[in-house]
Every structure is written in C-alpha cells, then in structure tokens.
Amino acid sequence: MSKSLSKFFLIAVAAAMILTACGPTATPEATEVAVETEAPADVVTEEPTPVPMEPAELEIWVSGRVSEAGPPPEDWVAYQIIQDELLIDLELVLLPSSAGDQDTKINTAAASNSLPDLFFVSRDTLYDLVQVGLVAPVDDLLPLMPVRTETHYSDPNRNALVTFDGQMYGLPDPGQIPMTDGLVIRQDWLDALGLQAPTTLDDFMTVATAFTFDDPDGNGQADTYGFCAFIDGSGLSNMGLGPRFNFIYGAYGVAGVWNLNSADEFGLNARDPRFMEATQFIRSMVEAGVIDPDWPTLSKDDFRAGWKQGQCGIMSENFAALANRSNYAAFDENNPEGEWVVIPPPVGPYGDSSEGVIIQTARIYAVSQRAIDEGKGPAIARLLEWMATDGYMLMAFGEEGVNFNLDNNGYITLEGIDPELAWNTSAMQPLTQLANMVYIFTDVELQARYQSHTSLNGRTIEPLAFLAGFSEQPWTEATGSAIINPPANAADFTRFYSENLVQFVLGQQDLNEETWAAFLEGLDSLGAADLEAVAKQDLIDAGFLR
C-alpha cells in the first residue's frame, strides 16, 4: 500500500508541476522586442529621437473615476483606436476603490514580481516599491511624451513627491483640486432656531448644542446632531482623527499632523500644547453629545447617508460630494427646505483659524522595472501622450456627438445628445473610467464635471460656488508632509498616534498634561524623534522647509 501511495504521490507531484508550468512566462519574442525597442541611454536630449512604433501588449491597473461603476466594455471604441493607431494591445484592470485594498493588491503582485506595466499607486507604497527596485525611474520617458510632460509633470511640488535620490520614480498626475473640503452649515436650521452662524469655537459649541437638542427640523424627535464627522485619517500625513476635525485644530493654530511653518519649528504638531487643548475641545463636544455618537465607526458612505437623511447641522464635506446633482438629490428629497451654506472656520482662543491643511496631492502612476526591461517604456509613453492629446476628449467625456457636444465656446454641453447616452449618466460612467488619467482641471473640465442644477424648491445649486467659498477661507500649507517617508514600524507608529487621540477624545483615557506627556513619550519610544529628524532633512532637501 505504501508503494501505491508513493506512486500516486509522484503522480500528484507531476500534476502539480504541469499546473505550475501553465503560469505566465516571458516569451523569447518579448525579450527580442525589448532589446530592439529599448530607449537609448542618451534619449534625454532637447530634440527627442523618434522611436519607431513597435507593437506592444500593455497591462495597466488604474483607479476608476467612479468606484461604483464597472470597467469599460470590451467593445469600447478606445480599445480599437489604441490598437490601430498606437499598436498597443491594452489590458485594463480597475483597482479596488479603498486605498488599503489597492495597496494590498499591488503589494502582493509586487511580492511575486508580477506588477503590471503601468499602475496607479499611493505615495507610501511607491516608496516601498522603489526601495526594492521594482519600480523604474521615468526620467527617460518624459521626452517621449512632451505634451503630457508639459501639462501633467511640470509641477515641481508634485514631482518632488515621486523623486528619490534625484530620479523620478513615478508619473505624478494632478491629484485632487486643493481646498475642496470645508465647513458647511444648515442655514434653514439656523433660521428655524433664530441663530447666527458661529464665528468662534464658543459660538460653534452653542450652535451645535442647539442643533442637537432644540429640534431644528421641527419633527418632534431627537434625531439631529450638531456636528457630523468620521475618522478619515490614514498614513503619516493624516494620522489621528483626520481632516474632518482639522478646522478645530486650525482654531488652535495647529492644523494637521505636522508643523511645516519653518525648519526650526518642524515636528509633530502634537508636541505643541495647543494641540492638546484642541483635543480637549473635541472631547468636550463628545461629552456634550453634539457629535453623532456613531462617528468612530462610520465609513465615508455612512457619514454621507447621515447628512442626506437630514441628521447633521454642521460638517466638513467635499464640495462635489455635497452639491453635485447625483449626491444632492437624496438630501433634496429628504429635506426639500434644507440649505447648506459655507461658513468660515471658527476662530479659536488665540485668534487662529484654518479650514485645514493643503496637501497638494498627486495621482501617481508607476512603471514597473519589468516593463522597462521588456522594452515597453516607449509604448507606455506613447499611450500616455495620446491620452493627453488626441485621446483626451475620448478619455474625459466619451465620444463627441454621442456622449457630449461642444458649444461655441468649447465647453461641454449635452444639447443634442440622447439623454441616455450623456457622458455623465450612470450607464455611461464605464466609458470615462480613465478620466482621472487625463483630467488637469481646466475650466472646460470643471464646468462639465460640476454643473449647476436646480433643487426641488427652485434654488440653484452650484457646486463650484461651494468650491470657491472653501478656497476663500484660511488654510494651512502642508504639501511637504506628503513626502515624509514611513518608518519601518509605520503600522505601530500610526496606530499608537491615532488610537491614543481617539481614546482621549472618547474619554477612554484621562486627558491632562500628565497623560499627554505619556502620549508623547510613547511616540518617542516608537521613534518619533528619529522620524522627525529624517523627515526634516528630506523636506529641506526637497525644498519644502527653509
């Protein structure tokens, strides 16, 4: 019997070998192409050497423009154009929508050295991949896509995010528009209770308390909260309670995790006693019951469901999430008389106020070293350049005449378009999933993406007016914090920082000078001082600190 088992074991091993042999491998042909098409080392010249167009297969992983929409259909017209005109057989994969899931997918692919040719990646993960040599420098690709380089990769701050040891290891496309999220208040609730919009933190607490306990919606039920938020923090630049609470820290002059005012002052804002005072203020809000009690476990979607139902009186929200037609509709239906207005961030006890931090972000696309080794660099540059030029409108808005039209001023219009085929309908969203690879926030884009609309009671809702309102408020510049590299124990460090802040705010820990000092000691025992020293030098080198 043991012999028979041995034989079957051998059979099973043979089967396993056959199965594993079925995995993808590089073909000899691909290697030959790589040798023939690899860009010459001296390609960085004033007059780029024309590279002969060679057929290529490209796999790209991107984050779709609309997370809940699917990928473009197989008969997407762009696939054929890219095949015919660029000689590229494109395989497109949409990454999961959450940052953690994206990192997981990319890191597991990286561990098996099977990263795609071009992929969207967070800055922290890019840093890790650069350290292990899986991501290629892209400096040599830039001359191959002059228009895109001019429109997408000419911002020194963004380029600094992807520059390591003097080389660019990623393509930093324009990220979010800065200053998109700000404080808004229910004007109809203020009117109903005869209150004025708050200008100081004390006013803020008074109004939030009235919104919570004085039945501002008049339905006779205790179903409203003065302030709504959720924990929106991740990474070294957003640890702790996250951006939704930044206006409170801003009122104490310590918005954000890092103090980037000057090289002398640089460090964790938590070392500033005012940071503890701001945390105490938030704790007092929790104790007073003016915050939605579910806030520590709410997801972004839950948070938004709450204000759409009419539970929230004050919040920090994204202008598009608040006012775009598709998002506003549910709120409008539940609260026909509801009216959100922008308010300035409240002024704190020392006369400070700030809406939050400006961290100029980038949507980073990395090129795998494997793709460069296989000679796919020119094809990647060709594809990206096409997207920024001939393919721009197709990527951003679909087919002209089918999904959109242009008016006499060159702006996007839906006149003459079948409503079911309009570029911004849910059904057509898969056609513009790559739009984030081409958007550069021109007037045409902004007008098209954030169109005004009319509420049920006839008011005009203008998303861009909210954006303009937020932009007028005081903000704290902190772009440099995005280039602070994670330490080896990043998970423990960020957990310790965030967990303690949440515990202070929720009353799970006493909050006084003694416990705060213990908190800072804990941070130091996890290497905070070393992290600050390294980060300071990096920021000085990158020109973010002086």
Binding site: S4, F8, T104, P296, A488, Q508, L526
Partner: protein, 324 residues
Amino acid sequence: MDTSPTSPPASAAARWKSFGSRERENLRKSLRKYRWLYIMLIPPLAYFVVFQYVPLWNAQIAFKDFRPLLGVWGSPFTGFDHFITFFHSYYFSELISNTLIFSFLKLFVGIPLAVILALALYETMFLRFRTIVQTIAYLPHFLSWVIMFGVLLMLLSPGEGLINAVIKANGGRPIAFLTSPEWFRFVVVASDIWKETGWSTIIYLAALMAIDPTLYEAAAVDGASRFHRIWYISLPGILPVVAVITMLRLGHILNAGFNQIFILYSLPVYSVGDIIDTWVYRQGILEFQFSLATAVGLFKGVIGLILVVVSNRLARRIGGAGLY
C-alpha cells in the same frame, strides 16, 4: 531444485524477486479494484501538493530580507531578524494576549454550545421543529462578515441600533458596543457564536447518529431518564469527536478570526481587538514587509504544531485515543 511454494527460495535475491512479483500482482489487482477511489484521490492530493506543500519552499523568506527581484532563493539571509522584530514590536504582548483570549473564548464557549445545541436537536421528538431550528441556526454561517457587520450595526449602533433604542426607551444611556473596550470582546465572541454554532452542530449531530440505538433502548428499559441517557450514552459517545475537534482547533489557536475582527474593529478598540493577523496585515502586507509576515506565519504554525502534538499525547494518555 525444489520450487514448490512451501520450499524456501534458494537465495535472498530470488526471494525478493518472488516477493516483489506477488506484491506487484496484488497491487495491480488492488488498483483495478479501487481505481475510481484512487482517481478521486488525485485532485485533493494535487491541491495539497500545489497549494500546501509547494508554498512551503517560500517559507524560507522568513529568514531572509525578501527582494522580489532576487527571488526567494537569491534574497539575502538575515537569520532570525524578523522573528526578533516581531517579538520586540511595541504591541507584541498585547497582540498575543488578544489573540489567545479570542481563540480560547471562541473555543471553550463555542464548542460546548454547539454540543448542547446538537444534543437538543437530536433529542427533540418534533422532526419538523428540528428542521426549522437547524435551518435557522445554519443560516448565519453563509453570511459574510461584511453583511454580519451591517446587521450588528443595525442592532448595536449607539445612534440608530435596535438594542440601544430599547435601552434609551427605558431611560438608559446608549452603549457603544462596537467602540467600547469593555464590550468589544463580548460582541466578537457572541457574534462568532451566533454565526458558527449552528454550522458546528453538524459534526456532533453526525456523531450522535452513529451511536448504536440499542444502547438507548436498553437504557430506557432499565428506566434511565432522558438526562441519564444523554449523560451516560450521548456525551460519552461523542466525546472522541469533541476531543478531535478541540485538538484540531488548538492547532489554529493563534488564528483568532482575521476576517471577523478586521471588519469589526476600529481605533477605539485596538487595545482589546488587535490580533496577530490584523497586525501582520498592516505591518507586513501594507508596509511591504513580506519576510516579517512570513516569519509571524511560521511562528504561528510552529506554536500550532506543538499544541496539536502535546494535546494529542494528552488525549491518548487520558482517553486512550487521539488524532493520530
């Protein structure tokens, strides 16, 4: 030369040849007779080889600074550095204690409840009732933890939850079950029991069905009450199965249920909810430290192996039978 079957062969080689030939013939017959069973065996064997044994090769990265470009073999050797990093990590003791607390609670609360439910179902005389209860009890097993989290939120949320609505209606203060360190472990264990106890009863019910019914008949004739029959026949009858299940679960004692806790935990309850696997996810996977993640996995495996071996010896010494 005498070649009769009863005569000894002339030499060892001839004896071996004769023996081998007979064995080969027996093997052929056996293969022919049980060919379909052997064919059915191939896919699971292939599964184990491909997905359980071949990956063992990669476990060596626990002792290396894994560099994907250099491959598993070519990555530089670092010895026990990653193990030491884990043992010296800031939250090591907390991770170990949280993991063990969850595992032991689930084990020693979950198994008795499943046994009790199985006994109750087995003893009921109303078959229709048993079927309904079984179906309802199994149902949560098929729900993912994401859906279970939604259900728990609807029940336990301090703002909108049903249970808190009852508490508030009775003049009490709402309880933050999911974000309170005092309540979080209870929620995790209770929700796990809710989800899995029904499913766990299947094996105990099968064990109960395998008990010789004449034992019950004889006991009834002798005047044994229902409780006595359970105590002296049913429980001893399924005890070996309970022992085996417990031993198997001990092998996974450092797996406290990643999916469940990853979905349920949040910053306010990290101190009582963060387990080894959630830490490995954050530090190993998200921070691209696969060698560290593998080292922790290996550590868990070794601990599990030791526990299985020790508990098996104990089971054999105490009960006379073990897992192997």
